[in-house]
Symmetry: C2
Subunit: 338 residues, 2 copies
């Protein structure tokens, strides 16, 4: 009987997740039923949304239950399949979670071409983060040539794709990141300007980098960056909102005054469009376009990506904690097996 | 030489406008230059946006200067015209402001048909407020049959049109107003439900009136109504924002905690569209459709309207103060001359 070593949610975090919120255990896996396959995890994706799944606050998705395996997208190798569509040795994109092995429904798996793009890109630039950038920027942000697009967490897999796609569409891309190394990397990626949000004069630097204001702000961070951006938004600016990672570990509301009315008044005064989205909304209609466009941009070098690969499932919790603090540099994946 | 009695902005208000913020004076008018007309004001429109013009805070429009005539749309009679397009006795829609006479450019005037709809409707249901409702609801709100549309200040000229147009489009209309008389009027207008925002159990009543949640909230009020609505919004709900009258007299930000992050998190979690707009954005492309549709709905009784007519320019300030407190009941106009 196959076994899996898995990381389960032991308790719900209050603030930053700690090692005590997780428990590693080795358990037997059931035999694959009809239409299922036994998989060995090669790479596990770590993404900010997982912090939301650890809480039982209202969300767009159900929380991970206590004692259940933490969820996550995976690149896995087929060990055994009851469905002719997959054979042992095939490599697939699945949703196996934080564990070494999983049993999943074959219809939920997508076979990857080991001769094509590197396998990890299915978790990053050619996967959910890349699609989040593509669909949110193009459908909601709608950057026009000459407009200014700003994105934070800009060396992350979503932000770096947002900036590079914005440039492909003829817009000016301004990236915000934490620390001089990341800022330097943004310039290598071709961003027109790059700003360190830790700089004491961040707001002034943002103003200097956006002399014509901001037409699109791709929001995946929130907090003080958003406050500074709001003041620079132009009339009719668009704000796709796909994440607010700065607040994911918050344990209480920020002190007053209550600025929510100021936010609404700014939306009114500047005729802003602020639109939340989860990429699944656009997946049925745009995945094909995305795969075609992004594959082409990767092939001709118009889009570059960076990965931060952590070795071994036993480093997953530490890597995830770092992700929420912005310590990763590029798309964070855990290499679980060779 | 013609004279006008006019109400000028004497000082900028701190909080609620007082009589001392205005000054009434009688002054000579210049002779109409080429392309101009001398007009006698018949009706002056009073609208919440005028509070914004009294302040020099950042806005989508320039403030009224100190000692300048307060602005406002007017229905006026032509006294003298230098342009053949208008003759003495013609009645026009203009922007004469808070005064008995004005000199305006003929190209900015629109001739009204005294045999058609009542003249005051050019300031209300067939004018800017009606167009605000029409364009914001249909372009941004996009109500679908069976969906639930909520609007506050629902007996006002914008809100009452929003609710009635929503019903014409097959949606369920829930109106919010202040006091039992207004609530009763909403039911006469055909709203499916009507709620008094002064009720101590307002939030519970709103929940009971929106058993399937809220798909469109037409925002023209803000404040505590918005807080209650936000909790009832469905995934993919649309929020056209055309006004925030509850906060127009505020002198400081509300006490904390700061809930702006909660607002952004709700926009994300529910994939909301929050879109500010000023009706001028849609005027070039939608006025013709609006006039055709709204005229038809008025003719066949599908849309009804109510006016609150105040007699005499000398009651203008008091009427405007009441408007900001919700004391008017229907579209507020001042009858300046017969």
């Amino acid at each position: 009987m196959a076994q899996t070593t898995r990381i389960v949610l032991a308790s719900r975090p209050h603030g930053e997740p700690t090692q005590e919120n997780f428990r590693t255990e080795t358990v037997d896996l059931p035999e694959p039923a009809a239409g299922e396959a036994l998989l060995e995890t090669l790479y596990l994706s770590l993404d900010p949304y997982m912090r939301g799944r650890m809480s039982d606050a209202p969300s767009y998705a159900a929380p991970v239950e206590i004692d259940a395996t933490m969820v996550g997208a995976t690149v896995s190798r087929v060990v055994q399949s009851t469905d002719d569509a997959l054979s042992p040795g095939d490599v697939v994109l699945g949703y196996g979670g934080w564990q070494t092995h999983s049993v999943e429904k074959v219809k939920h798996l997508r076979r990857l071409d080991p001769q094509g793009a590197p396998l990890t890109t299915a978790l990053g630039v050619l996967g959910m983060p890349g699609f989040t950038a593509y669909s949110g920027l193009l459908t909601i942000g709608q950057p026009k040539p000459g407009e200014t697009v700003v994105v934070a967490a800009a060396t992350g897999p979503v932000g770096s794709a947002v900036g590079q796609i914005a440039r492909i569409k003829g817009a000016r891309a301004v990236g915000i990141a934490g620390g001089p190394e990341k800022v330097a990397h943004l310039k290598e990626l071709g961003f027109d300007a790059a700003i360190d949000h830790r700089a004491p004069d961040f707001a002034e630097q943002l103003a200097a980098a956006t002399p014509d204001g901001i037409d699109v702000y791709f929001e995946n961070v929130g907090g003080q960056v958003w406050d500074a951006v709001l003041r620079r938004l132009n009339t009719y600016a668009r704000v796709p909102v796909c994440g607010l990672v700065a607040g994911y570990n918050a344990t209480s509301l920020p002190e007053g005054p209550d600025r929510s009315g100021v936010l609404m008044a700014t939306i009114l005064r500047k005729s802003l469009t602020v639109r939340g989205f989860i990429q699944t909304e656009f997946a049925p209609t745009q995945t094909e376009d995305f795969v075609r466009d992004m594959s082409g941009w990767l092939a001709d070098g118009q889009v570059q990506y960076r990965e931060d690969v952590v070795e071994g499932l036993d480093h997953t919790v530490e890597a995830f904690q770092g992700l929420l603090q912005g310590r990763n540099f590029g798309k964070l994946v855990v290499k679980v097996a060779d």
